[in-house]
C-alpha cells in the first residue's frame, strides 16, 4: 500500500519544487504582466522624486505656448522654432490636470513609463523573450528617461515615438513584415511633428537601409517599400512645411555652439547615466554580440539587425552633427530618437550574454536606481524662489524687465498676474513665449539707453520696476554669440538703472534671492526699484 504524505507533512524541498512548478505553469501573459507592473511601479517611484521641481526657461516657454488656444499655437510656434504636436497634447493635458510643475511634468512621465511595455514588446518581438525583458528593465531605469520624465518638454514623447519607429522599421524592412511599414510612416511623421530632430532621424533611417540592402534578396521590393514609406511620412508632414520653412529661415538657436567631437561622452554621461553604467553595458554587449561578427553568424538576422540599429543611431547623430555645424542644435536632450536603438543594442547583447548578461543588468540597475536625484535635479532654475520673495512687494501695473529675453516666460509663470513686461530688446505684449525670429540681430540693434529710458518714463511715481538678470556663473553657458551679448546687455542695463538711482529717479527697495541654491540652468537674481521722482 502506498501512502501519500499530506501537504503539511511533505518535505520542504518538495514543497519548493511544487511552488516552482506551479509558477512555471503560469501563462506567459501573467508573468509578463506581473513583471511590467513591478517595473513600471519602481520606475514611476524613481521618476517622480523631482516631479514638482521648478521650471527652467524651456519648460516655462513650452507651458506658456500651450496655454494659448489650439488655433493660436501653430502661429506662435512660428516664432519659437518647434513643431506643434507636443504643445497641442500639453494644451489638453493642462485643461484636465492644471498648469503646475507636477501636473505638466506628469505628461512626460506617462510617455516615459509607456516606453517600458513598448520596449518589452520591441525586444521580445525582434529578438525573443529574454531580450524583451532586458529591454523593459533598461528602459525602466535609463538615466536619460528618468531625467526628462520630470521635464515639461517633448523629449519623452520623442523617445517613445523613436522606439515604436525603430521597432516597426526592423519588422518592416529587415524581417519584411510589410504591415509594419504603415506604422513606420506614421511614427516618422509624428516625430517630424514633435521635434526638429525628427528630420535627422528621417534621414538616418533612410541611410540605415544600407545594411539591409546588402543582404536582402528582394532589393527592388525593399526599395519600393522604402519609397512608399518615406514618401508617405513626408506627405503627412506637408501641412507643416510652410511653418517649417519659415522657422528654418527666421529662427535658430543662437545660444548653442557648433558641436565638437564629444558625442561618445554625451552618450555615456547623459544618455546612459555615467561611466560605470556604460562600462557595464559595453561588457554585456561584447559578451553577447561578439559572436555576431564571426563568419558563421555575420549574415544572420540578429547580425543584420545589429548593424541596422548601429547605422540608425550613427547616421542620425552624424546628420545632426553635420547640420549643427551650420545651425547649432546638438545637445544631449535632443538625442531622444537614437536612445531606443542604443538600448535595443544593449538589450540584444545582454540577452545573448548568459550569466554575464544577468550580472551586467543587475550592475546597471544597481548603479542607476538608488540615486535618481543625480539625474533629475529639482532646482533647474531659481526663478520660483526669486518670484516667491518678490511677489508680496509687487503691485498691478508694475514693470518687469528681464535682461535675458528667453527668461521672460519663466518670470511670467512665477510672478503674479497684472504686471507689464519688457526685455532687453523691447516692451512685450505677450510674455508667455519667446520670439526667436532674428533674435540675435534684434538684440544687437536694441540700444539699452534708448529702450530703457521710455520704460522708466512710463512709470508713475510710486510704481516699481523689477530688474531680473541672469547669474552668469560658469563660462561655458556664456560663450555662444547670444549668451555673450545677453551678459553684456545685462550689465549695460544694470549700469543705466544704477545711474537712475544716483540721479534720484529710482530707489532700490528689495533684492532676491536671499537663499541662493545653485541652480542647474542659468539662474537669476532680481532687484526691485521704486520710482521716486
Amino acid at each position: 500500500m502506498t501512502t501519500v504524505a499530506s501537504p503539511a507533512t511533505r518535505p520542504a524541498g518538495e514543497r519548493r519544487a511544487g511552488r516552482l512548478r506551479s509558477l512555471s505553469e503560469l501563462p506567459n501573459w501573467a508573468i509578463v504582466s506581473a513583471v511590467l507592473v513591478v517595473l513600471v511601479a519602481i520606475s514611476a517611484f524613481v521618476r517622480t522624486r523631482a516631479l514638482s521641481g521648478q521650471f527652467w526657461i524651456d519648460e516655462a516657454i513650452t507651458t506658456g505656448i500651450s496655454t494659448h488656444s489650439l488655433s493660436a499655437i501653430p502661429g506662435i510656434l512660428r516664432h519659437d522654432g518647434n513643431p506643434p504636436l507636443y504643445y497641442l497634447l500639453l494644451h489638453f493635458w493642462m485643461r484636465a490636470f492644471g498648469t503646475s510643475e507636477a501636473a505638466t511634468h506628469s505628461l512626460s512621465l506617462v510617455f516615459g513609463l509607456l516606453t517600458i511595455p513598448v520596449a518589452m514588446w520591441s525586444g521580445w518581438s525582434l529578438f525573443g523573450r529574454r531580450a524583451g525583458l532586458t529591454a523593459a528593465v533598461l528602459f525602466a531605469f535609463n538615466a536619460w528617461l528618468t531625467q526628462y520624465a520630470e521635464e515639461t518638454r517633448m523629449y519623452e514623447l520623442m523617445a517613445l515615438l523613436g522606439l515604436i519607429a525603430t521597432t516597426a522599421y526592423l519588422h518592416g524592412f529587415l524581417y519584411r513584415r510589410r504591415r509594419y511599414l504603415f506604422l513606420v510612416a506614421v511614427t516618422l511623421a509624428l516625430m517630424l511633428y514633435t521635434h526638429s530632430w525628427g528630420i535627422f532621424f528621417f534621414i538616418g533611417a533612410l541611410l540605415a537601409l544600407i545594411p539591409i540592402l546588402r543582404v536582402t534578396e528582394d532589393r527592388r521590393g525593399l526599395i519600393r517599400d522604402a519609397a512608399l514609406t518615406f514618401v508617405g511620412a513626408g506627405v503627412l508632414f506637408i501641412p507643416w512645411i510652410p511653418n517649417f520653412i519659415y522657422q528654418a529661415t527666421h529662427t535658430g538657436a543662437p545660444w548653442s555652439h557648433a558641436p565638437g567631437l564629444g558625442t561618445p561622452i554625451l552618450i555615456s554621461r547623459d544618455l546612459l547615466g555615467g561611466d560605470r553604467v556604460t562600462i557595464a553595458l559595453i561588457i554585456g554587449c561584447v559578451a553577447g554580440l561578439a559572436a555576431l561578427f564571426t563568419r558563421r553568424l555575420r549574415r544572420s538576422q540578429d547580425a543584420v539587425a545589429l548593424w541596422t540599429l548601429i547605422a540608425l543611431a550613427v547616421a542620425t547623430l552624424l546628420v545632426a552633427w553635420l547640420g549643427s555645424q551650420i545651425t547649432p542644435a546638438y545637445v544631449s536632450r535632443y538625442f531622444a530618437p537614437v536612445l531606443p536603438a542604443i538600448l535595443l543594442i544593449a538589450a540584444l547583447g545582454i540577452a545573448r550574454a548568459g550569466i554575464v548578461g544577468i550580472a551586467v543588468l543587475i550592475a546597471a540597475v544597481a548603479f542607476l536606481a538608488p540615486h535618481p536625484s543625480q539625474f533629475a535635479y529639482p532646482i533647474k532654475s531659481d526663478m520660483r524662489n526669486v518670484a516667491g520673495e518678490i511677489k508680496p512687494l509687487m503691485h498691478k501695473g508694475d514693470l518687469v524687465v528681464v535682461a535675458q529675453p528667453e527668461q521672460t516666460p519663466l518670470a511670467w509663470y512665477y510672478l503674479p498676474p497684472g504686471l507689464n513686461y519688457a526685455n532687453s530688446i523691447a516692451r512685450i505684449s505677450d510674455p508667455s513665449y519667446m520670439n526667436w525670429v532674428h533674435a540675435q540681430s534684434r538684440l544687437e540693434r536694441a540700444n539699452p539707453a534708448a529702450t530703457l529710458g521710455p520704460l522708466v518714463s512710463s512709470l508713475r511715481r510710486g510704481q516699481q520696476l523689477l530688474y531680473v538678470r541672469p547669474l552668469t556663473e560658469g563660462v561655458e553657458n556664456w560663450e555662444a554669440p547670444w549668451t555673450r551679448l545677453v551678459r553684456r546687455r545685462a550689465a549695460e542695463w544694470g549700469a543705466l538703472l544704477q545711474a537712475d538711482v544716483r540721479r534720484g529717479m529710482l530707489k532700490q527697495v528689495a533684492w532676491a534671492p536671499h537663499d541662493y541654491q545653485e541652480a542647474l540652468f542659468e539662474p537669476d537674481s532680481a532687484v526691485l526699484y521704486r520710482k521716486v521722482s
Binding site: Y377, Y467, R469, L471, T472, E473, G474, V475, E476, W478, E479, R484, R487, R488, A490, A491, E492, G494, A495, L497, Q498, Q508, W511, A512, P513, Y516, E518, A519, L520, F521, S525, V527
Partner: protein, 122 residues
C-alpha cells in the same frame, strides 16, 4: 665631540627651525594669478594697468572697461544679487564693468577672465 654633535644637528636640518625674517607667506595678486589676467589682456595688445590692489583698468576711463577682482566667485555673485554691482558682468570672481568699450575689446577681456572659472554642476 661637541663639534661633531653640532655638525650632526646642522646636517639633520634642525637649523631649519629658524624662520626667515619675513615669514614664509607669499601674497598672490588676483590680477597676475595664476591665471595671469594682466598678461592675457596685454597679449591681445590692449593697454591695461593695475589700479589699487585688486583692479585692472583697460584703456582710460570713462570709456575703458574696469575689472575688479573679488576674493571668491560667490562674493562677486553676491554683489550682483544684492544690486551692488548692477553695471558689471560677473565672470568667476571678477566684476567686469564694460563702460563704453567696443564689442571686440570686451570679447578679449571676457575670454581672459574666463580662464580657470569653475563650471556650475550640469
Amino acid at each position: 665631540m661637541a663639534a661633531v654633535c653640532a655638525a650632526a644637528v646642522l646636517v639633520s636640518g634642525c637649523a631649519g627651525l629658524a624662520k626667515p625674517a619675513g615669514g614664509r607667506g607669499a601674497a598672490v595678486d588676483p590680477r597676475t594669478g595664476p591665471p595671469n589676467y594682466l598678461a592675457c589682456i596685454r597679449a591681445d595688445r590692449l593697454a591695461v594697468s593695475k589700479r589699487g590692489s585688486d583692479s585692472l583698468q583697460v584703456g582710460r576711463l570713462p570709456s575703458g572697461p574696469t575689472i575688479v577682482f573679488e576674493p571668491t566667485a560667490g562674493i562677486a555673485e553676491g554683489q550682483q544679487i544684492e544690486g551692488k554691482a548692477q553695471g558689471a558682468e560677473v565672470i568667476g570672481a571678477a566684476l567686469l564693468y564694460p563702460n563704453h568699450a567696443s564689442g571686440g575689446e570686451l570679447t578679449v577681456i571676457e575670454n581672459c577672465l574666463g580662464q580657470g572659472v569653475k563650471e556650475p554642476k550640469e
